[in-house]
């Protein structure tokens, strides 16, 4: 399935633990980054479960916000990029 994930993690001065790095590392292992806090790509159902479980654990429920869109099919969608497409393709 296809996933678009974006997050907003509150700065460390507002809370006791700095979880921004842990959340970033968790997401980077599963999805390619397209913008500073936006990730998208193909992911397996089982991997998605594992990713959401880690995010549930690491997320500060009061201050952080993580939004995930999931798609089973991309038939009715179109992706338009203006300017640079960062980390979009399979090639490097």
């Amino acid at each position: 399935m296809y996933v678009i994930l974006f997050y907003d993690i509150a700065g460390s001065e507002q809370k006791e633990k700095n979880n921004a790095n842990r959340i970033r590392k968790a997401v980077e292992k599963y999805l390619p980054r397209v913008q500073f806090s936006v990730f998208e790509g193909e992911i397996r159902q089982s991997d998605f479960k594992r990713l959401t479980a880690t995010l549930q654990k690491e997320c500060d429920k009061e201050l952080d916000s993580i939004v995930i869109y999931t798609f089973n099919s991309l038939k009715y969608s179109e992706r338009l990029v203006i300017g640079q497409d960062k980390n979009g393709s399979l090639f490097s």
């Binding site: 292992k29 991997d47 980390n87 399979l90 090639f91």
Partner: protein
């Protein structure tokens, strides 16, 4: 936005490194200094194809082995150099029984001949189906008869070779761009002209996909049936690829050439050797990935082409271990 085959291609020189238990790729510019860094999500990758000069250390290799990522190395001219297959519980779940049965099937001349003949028949039928789809008449009955009458592996190989020669001649009727892609003779190591270099590249890719799928089953890729296991290390994937080369590779070559997606401009010649430009490789790979993730319905199941290849390997295993009748896969 195509569906991902969980493969990644490295086309530019750089360094693969492990950091934060994740895979980083530093791209180099001309004087070997880092100009861009990209994160390859380790859990979204199964295979990495390396077609450029890449630095990699044992620490990274160990990490890749832990995550069951396969590496395939190619020379700058697209010829195959080797694989890195992790030695983990997942990749060497080989049973001694299957290995013994495979060796026995190889030594049993009747059984070996039977398997080799079935593979060759599927290969010939698939080739003929290609010709039929492109409206080129091709009488295969003498070749099938020669195949039936063959009593040794060498005779099967001879029948297959004679057929293959005629089949390649038919390519001139299928491919419209005769000026730059006229097929004269199949040449390898190195391929002499553009069409040969295209065939070689696509075939290498199919061999590697077959090999990765064989590693997921219990079969041992070192023991092939049609191809003699001589001093080259592996040969079973060549057998299985025989069946899938016409279905996946040849059709792709025909459509890409006839729709002018690949033209003479996509090749670079250097000191008599021919290679693809990086843009051409990207175009071809997107096509191949599209093909491999395409679902087809076989025996009531929806399978991707990768899964079809694995199914073929498992059927071969069933024939070897349980004496089940084996029939090569023919795509209609």
């Amino acid at each position: 936005m195509q569906k991902n085959d969980r493969t990644h291609f490295i086309l530019s020189p750089g360094r693969l490194r492990r950091r934060d238990n994740n895979l980083y790729f530093d791209k180099f510019d001309e004087d070997l200094s880092v100009c861009a860094t990209k994160i390859l999500p380790i859990n979204a990758i199964d295979e990495v194809y390396i077609l450029a000069r890449v630095e990699i250390d044992s620490y990274t290799l160990a990490f890749l082995a832990d995550n069951n990522v396969l590496l395939h190395f190619f020379s700058p001219y697209g010829s195959f150099r080797g694989n890195f297959f992790p030695n983990t519980s997942n990749s060497v779940n080989k049973s001694g029984f299957v290995l013994l049965q495979q060796l026995r099937a190889f030594d049993d001349s009747v059984k070996r001949l039977y398997i080799a003949r079935e593979i060759t028949r599927a290969h010939i039928l698939n080739d003929a189906m290609n010709c039929k789809k492109h409206g080129v008449s091709f009488d295969i009955s003498p070749h099938i008869a020669a195949l039936e009458g063959a009593t040794t592996i060498a005779q099967i190989m001879a029948a297959e070779g004679a057929f293959q020669k005629l089949y390649y001649e038919k390519w001139n009727e299928i491919i419209t761009d005769q000026k730059s892609f006229k097929f004269t003779v199949r040449s390898k190591r190195p391929p002499a002209d553009k069409i040969n270099s295209f065939i070689s590249y696509i075939n290498t890719r199919i061999y590697n996909v077959c090999l990765s799928e064989i590693y997921k089953t219990e079969l041992d890729p070192r023991i092939g049936f049609l191809h003699e296991p001589n001093y080259r290390a592996l040969s079973l994937h060549l057998d299985i690829a025989e069946i899938f080369k016409p279905i996946l590779g040849d059709t792709l070559i025909f459509t890409m050439l006839n729709r002018r997606e690949i033209t003479a401009k996509d090749f670079e010649t250097n000191a008599g050797r021919i290679k693809f430009s990086n843009e051409a490789v990207q175009k071809i790979e997107i096509k191949i990935i599209g093909k491999l993730t395409e679902q087809v319905e076989i025996a009531g199941q929806k399978l991707t082409w990768r899964q079809v290849i694995r199914r073929e390997a498992n059927r071969l295993k069933k024939c070897i271990c349980e004496d089940a009748p084996y029939e090569g896969f023919v795509w209609r």
